[in-house]
Symmetry: C2
Subunit: 565 residues, 2 copies
């Protein structure tokens, strides 16, 4: 069967009034700031107001190492949220806000898919309530203050070639990656090389995702390091007197947004930090509210379990103090086959035909990746459940392989058809998740923050990535030493590496071992609160293709949006 | 007496629920999209829904040529709106949205002042409902599509040194005025020089202010010219297939915002185009709705009557089809004294002490400017009323001079104390405006659009600016010839010149005559729908001072915003 386009499905359902959704979560009406009938911001006072209510079970949806196409983590999370009602349980979802830039690039949108979507998808994929724009504005005000400081005499003695704070825009625009600013005359600033990242890559976004309160937001903003003096001392947003204004600009963005699924499951949508150089997880504040609004709080972590879930456990949960109860590891047959190394999947190109043939052996070969990602969850003391995100081209024998492998590790695996069937298609998964949550959880961090930065990196690299050892370039080692000297040594680490392999090398499929993680350079998001070693090249500003989605998005003759998906 | 800070006054009044404000305007609740309790967007369907209601009298608030401090046009407009209720009349205001960039620069905000303010001022001065951000996003998507076109082979043969479309951000950031993009490797775009303007200077902003419907918006976006081919043919947003997506990004921004004054007068706030290179007037759509919501619709035009009011008459009213009934010319004693040429007022410096001495002769000398600006209103067949925006340092003898001069021209002049007294302080002005509106109006345009571009420029220069003649540089003349060859010759003209003199020379005070207007270059906002000759240097991206407002804005210990004004 062929599904109607996502946008048509999304429009076929009339959202319930958002105040009714909130009421079902136990949120008083005075805690809502409506944006139309279908979206509202939730006041942070909700955290205190709900403090006496019981805590929900806390479930993170993660995945095997994805192909460039993604394996349907969001659709599975949404489907699971919807499915809970089918088995008599009350769930809230807590998700990231999609970035608008890629909506007009390749993707055309990111709100789940088929009958597992967040609505109104047109709002979710565009401005929503303006949080991303607020991050852009706060980030760029600080950048203007940096260049203004140079222009007015540079009292703090910022080294012009050691300014780390760039600018951001929520657009795919490769021409902005590397630029020279301050050209023109003397009144037009000081010339220097810099660039723009996409807003999702802003440290302000990462910071907003990790902050716990308005006061904490203000403090973290003040701690942002924009660059270094000529003698190597960090210069902060507080020294530039910019953090107060940044906090004011972010006042509304600090409040999470409330939307719903096609089946009216409440969805808290808040922040959208990058998944490579940042945590790739939705906000702590969203979860602090969501954890008191039902029986199950389901959130999603970006990319595979080695990436988003590892940060979920070691950075996000460490900050929030919340303890997870279970993790869903999403797998697709196509990705498992790809991990056999016998297929080549390239974004923007059609899938190879033989990927659809019945090949249980290839699934078996690729399942090393699934095994390792299951272990990566278990390494944190959390019970995993495998969700097989089923495609019409899958074969029952292939599903059986996955189920058998999971069972051999004592893990339940369930086939999900929620893209086609909505919540009903994830009932078995929901049952397995409920069961997993009832098992005793022994959540543990992978490392202590008191460990040295190199120890922390090495624990993640060896225990999660399967690396034999870590190698640092000279600059990386010097950077680590300088961060430790500057007092940033007790921050957790967020290792920026490819999401297409558990290792640092995107060509290594399956579950590679014996490899060396190469740390090219190390940066710090001191305000957000983590150090990020960079392994390989990370693009923090996407480009557009020759025929981007922007050329297809528009209005039809009835004034309805077309081209979003 | 000393007034409390604007922010304290603004906070001392609890806004009425915006749905009650709307109900008082005859707007059905289903036409509102609330953003919290105090702000709502008005659906464009209101235009048709209200079509059978009587039209309000239409009043534009303009001014004499201001000093760099501004002469209180917004406070007078707000005070006049509030005053109408004091004399038993029902008024709606229609105003521009302030730009957020300058809020963190010099100004600290722009929402009127004292007891004549728009509330909630914290929302007005920050993101409001995100319209400026939407303009930024739409504008920059088109810029990304331009550079993407170059990157992917430049099929349209865009001349790399003849790309006129820059980027925009709503921030004061001089370092972005002149930049080089596309540095890095081959995958990072094509290197070229360009720059950023502030969002208020975006053609998309001007276009949004002049558009009349969603369909018209889409067409105007498509007509935007981004640059020229190597053979001199214009290249449009439609050719780049970007206009559909831009329209989608602007969907919500097309709807005006509803706020209120301290005395609960309805205020439609929509768009904020620059006053030099664009119209400096609030939106046509805001006025098309507002004109059916009461007995008086009061709007404001930027800078002096030679600038914003001239564009109000010849561009905005031409587009909207609305006919004005009266114009308020705001004057201050300090500005009239400055026009005597005996004082020097510099932005950011304290006013000279002798400006406060009783000097009716200097007021008389400077009143040449008032006379000319009154004539500039009368040249369009509209009845002017003079509003003397009173300061505590004024002397009655000085007010008397203004009143006498106005009366000698058959024009009423009234002293306004609405900053201190609220609407009650502008009752006399309101009475005079009602009287002026009851006089028969013979509104006429200054030029026909069928006139040649040079004829249009010359009509404005000689009749409004008092110029003897217009001189064009070689490039300006060639640009005009090329625009006429490309079919843009029938657009109205928006002459970009200093707002500190009626002439093109900011040092010429009073009402200079015999001067020559120097047209340095000519540009076209084809999508917005006007050609703008540039006389002198126009900054389209402000900078920050050494201690900008951003260093003082923040939260106090009770979590309340401080530093906005």
């Amino acid at each position: 069967m062929t599904l109607p386009p996502d946008l048509d499905i999304a429009r076929s359902v009339t959202p319930k009034p958002v105040r009714d959704i909130a009421a079902g979560m136990g949120l008083d009406a005075d805690l809502l700031r409506p944006y139309g009938d279908d979206v509202a911001k939730i006041d942070l006072a909700a955290i205190d107001r709900l403090a006496d209510r019981p805590k929900a079970k806390y479930v993170v949806v993660t995945a095997i190492t994805p192909t460039p196409l993604g394996e349907g983590k969001t659709t599975t999370a949404v489907g699971l949220g919807q499915a809970m009602a089918h088995i008599g349980k009350q769930a809230t979802l807590s998700l990231r806000q999609p970035s608008m830039g890629p909506t007009f690039g390749i993707k055309g949108g990111a709100a789940g898919g088929g009958y597992s979507q967040v609505i109104p998808m047109e709002l979710l994929n565009l401005h929503l309530t303006g949080d991303f724009h607020a991050v852009t504005a706060a980030h760029n005000l600080l950048a203007a203050m940096v260049d203004n400081h140079l222009h007015h005499g540079n009292e703090l003695d910022l080294a012009i070639d050691d300014i780390t704070w760039r600018r951001v825009l929520d657009v795919n625009d490769r021409a902005l990656r590397n630029i020279v600013v301050g050209l023109g005359g003397k009144i037009d600033g000081v010339p220097r090389q810099t660039g723009f990242d996409i807003t999702a890559a802003s440290e302000v976004m990462a910071l907003l995702a990790l902050t716990t309160s308005a006061a904490d937001l203000r403090e973290r903003l003040g701690r942002i390091v924009v660059g270094y003096t000529r003698s190597g001392e960090p210069v902060t947003a507080d020294q530039l007197q910019a953090a107060g204004s940044m906090a004011v600009i972010l006042r509304d963005a600090l409040s999470p947004n409330l939307l719903q699924t096609l089946e009216h499951t409440p969805v808290i949508v808040h922040t959208g930090p990058f998944g490579n150089i940042a945590t790739g997880n939705s906000s702590v504040i969203g979860d602090l509210i969501g954890i008191r609004t039902g029986e199950y709080l389901i959130t999603e972590a970006g990319f595979g379990a080695d990436m988003g879930a590892e940060r979920f456990f070691n950075i996000k949960c460490r900050t929030s103090g919340l303890v997870p109860d279970a993790a869903v590891v999403v797998a697709t047959i196509r990705a498992l086959k790809a991990h056999s190394g016998n297929y080549r999947i390239v974004a923007g190109k059609p899938l190879p035909d033989d990927l659809f043939a019945e090949r249980p052996d290839d699934v078996e070969a690729g399942a090393a990746n699934l095994r390792k990602q299951i272990e990566n969850v278990q390494a944190h003391g959390i019970t995993p459940v495998v969700a097989i995100n089923a495609f019409p081209t899958d074969h029952p024998s292939e599903h059986e392989v996955v189920r058998r492998i999971a069972e051999s590790m004592g893990v339940r695996a369930e086939v999900c058809t929620n893209v086609v069937d909505g919540g009903a298609g994830a009932k078995a998964l929901a049952g397995a998740v409920v069961e997993a949550c009832d098992e005793p959880s022994e959540f543990r961090f992978l490392y202590d923050t008191a460990d040295s930065l190199k120890t922390k990196i090495e624990k993640v690299a060896t225990r999660i990535y399967g690396a034999e050892r870590v190698e640092y370039t000279g600059p990386a080692s010097r950077q680590i030493a300088s961060y430790e000297a500057n007092g940033f040594g007790d921050l957790p680490v967020c290792i920026a590496k490819t999401h297409l392999s558990i290792s640092g090398d995107p060509s290594l499929k399956g579950a590679p071992t014996g490899h060396t993680l190469q740390v090219r350079e190390v940066r710090a998001s001191v305000g957000a609160g983590f150090v990020y070693p960079i392994c390989g090249t990370m693009s923090t500003m996407p480009g557009l293709s020759k025929q981007p989605a922007a050329t297809r998005i528009g209005f039809d003759d009835d004034g309805r949006i077309v081209g979003l998906s």
